[in-house]
Subunit: 332 residues, 2 copies
Amino acid sequence: MANRRPTLETVAARAGVSRATVSRMINDQPVAPPSRRAVERAIAEVGYVPNQAARSLVTQRTGLIALVLPESSTRVFSDDQFFPRLIQGVSQELETADEQLVLMLAGSAASRDRIERSAVAGRVDGVMLASLHGTDPLAVALAKSGIPVVSNERVLGPVEVPSVGVDNRGGARAAVQQLIVSGRRRIATITGPSDMIAGMDRLDGYLDAIGDAQEPVVAAGDFTRTSGEVAMERLLSEEPGIDAVFAASDLMAEGALHVLRQSGSRVPGDMALVGFDDITRARYTEPPLTTVRQPIDGLGRHLASQLLHLISDGAVEPQLTLPTELVVRDSS
Amino acid sequence: MANRRPTLETVAARAGVSRATVSRMINDQPVAPPSRRAVERAIAEVGYVPNQAARSLVTQRTGLIALVLPESSTRVFSDDQFFPRLIQGVSQELETADEQLVLMLAGSAASRDRIERSAVAGRVDGVMLASLHGTDPLAVALAKSGIPVVSNERVLGPVEVPSVGVDNRGGARAAVQQLIVSGRRRIATITGPSDMIAGMDRLDGYLDAIGDAQEPVVAAGDFTRTSGEVAMERLLSEEPGIDAVFAASDLMAEGALHVLRQSGSRVPGDMALVGFDDITRARYTEPPLTTVRQPIDGLGRHLASQLLHLISDGAVEPQLTLPTELVVRDSS
DNA sequence: CTGAAAGCGCTTACAG
DNA sequence: CTGAAAGCGCTTACAG
């Protein structure tokens, strides 16, 4: 067929109108019905699709949104499905806005550099940051560059970045309270990474709930299954008095459960166990795991919608917190 | 600072050279040392980053590669980590080529339409297809449009699409042969979806291995854990004579294991069990699962590199098959 | 509602 | 090695 893709010019000539008229049609601006019909027909006949680069050049919009993930993050490629679910939510929202998703993994220093350049080069209309650790220099640099940025957690550092998070603290508090109400006397926690908001807030929720009732018993983890195993082993040997554990992720709870089974502890008889996330497998463990459900796809959707608002209006909630929900199963 | 981003013009003026010279520098073409120094300095001083849209408009290259995933695919958002690992591999390869990844989920008819238009509109330089089912019209349409396309599985339909796959058949064959060698007499299989290459090939591998030694015993599954449970229940009630099961995915093997435990069957004593994938959890099941490892990140890397070749050279292997490897643990 | 024209920010023969 | 100039394919005031 045609050797090169048809342009606006092709369509205009064929329809007997100017390029401006065709352009207006494509952009849903008013066009007289007769011209409209002629143009529609010409478009269909030649199979015209507007060239995005040319459009972007004049509109300064690319129709592209970046999702930046620190590849090193334990969560990104872990078993908890955080990453795919987040993407699912984000995609759903971007779909309605006809924006497309560019995935950028910020693993190495080189890739972080590349991401920063891309963003500054106007390659994308905005950036979503997810699961950052500590005070991330990339987050700071992007925020300072003036490109619209949102984050799934409060950004630590000398910048103001709108964030959409889940109620980590409230969820953790509810989990531990349920343990207290059901009669547990000495409750330990296995924490997430101390440099992540999710890790910090879930620990704070634990501390909120136990209050002065007991001394806090804290074992450090990093959200992974292995870290849950190690922490549980430590708790068993160093804190023989505990009768309940709140693990800040389901993966860690799974690891803890494994260790408990090995050691002959009965769950929930000898030891109650609560996780956080409500991953698919939580209902399949033995016994099924009590946990705190967080709306990851909702997080993705809100993250995207906040960013889209920021891009078009410029106005947006500085901080949005989505509710979490305690799901009681058999492990507590 | 500056109100608008600096352009080539800005840099050229500041360095006292023409725009062409600056452009050549950016594109690594020869430039006399004195000019070079002046330009480098000007770039640094104004913080110049080339505008990608303008570049794309003239070069007809976007630096963007699409990864298209049918959202409905059981594998995309399943627990087997296929999706994140594939992306990891793809990203790694694209990184070296300085291309960026656009993720397109082909869930609805609308999104498929959008994907096709995007590709045709030259929004991306090429497309990777993953985990398609049956004869996918989108795959066919993309291939026909002339845009470079590769797929992670052989594409069924009236088009020629270069593919990069794993040796599903050989892996399945090896798994079943090991069962035979270890003395199992009546081996069943739980299959993947019959409209996916991975499902079809693993079944063929099973059939290869049992040959005429026994009647095939086949229970249909769709790679998910639940389908593995259902299939195992059916096998237990309808095929009491079996002493081994080859499940075409680890998730299905996990489901089967669960059912076996419930029913009091001992693994591997009463029933040997082999999976496929070697997901992280395979080594944590009770007993640890014998399985066939497939190199998912390698798949991603090769998929990307094949596409990059196709885009630049136009030449590429029509079909690449990566080896799989039997990992013997305790379940068989 | 419509068209002529300028301009978005680059790259690339072409001539020197 | 370098510059002047054309051109990539759109959108958008501007004037009518």
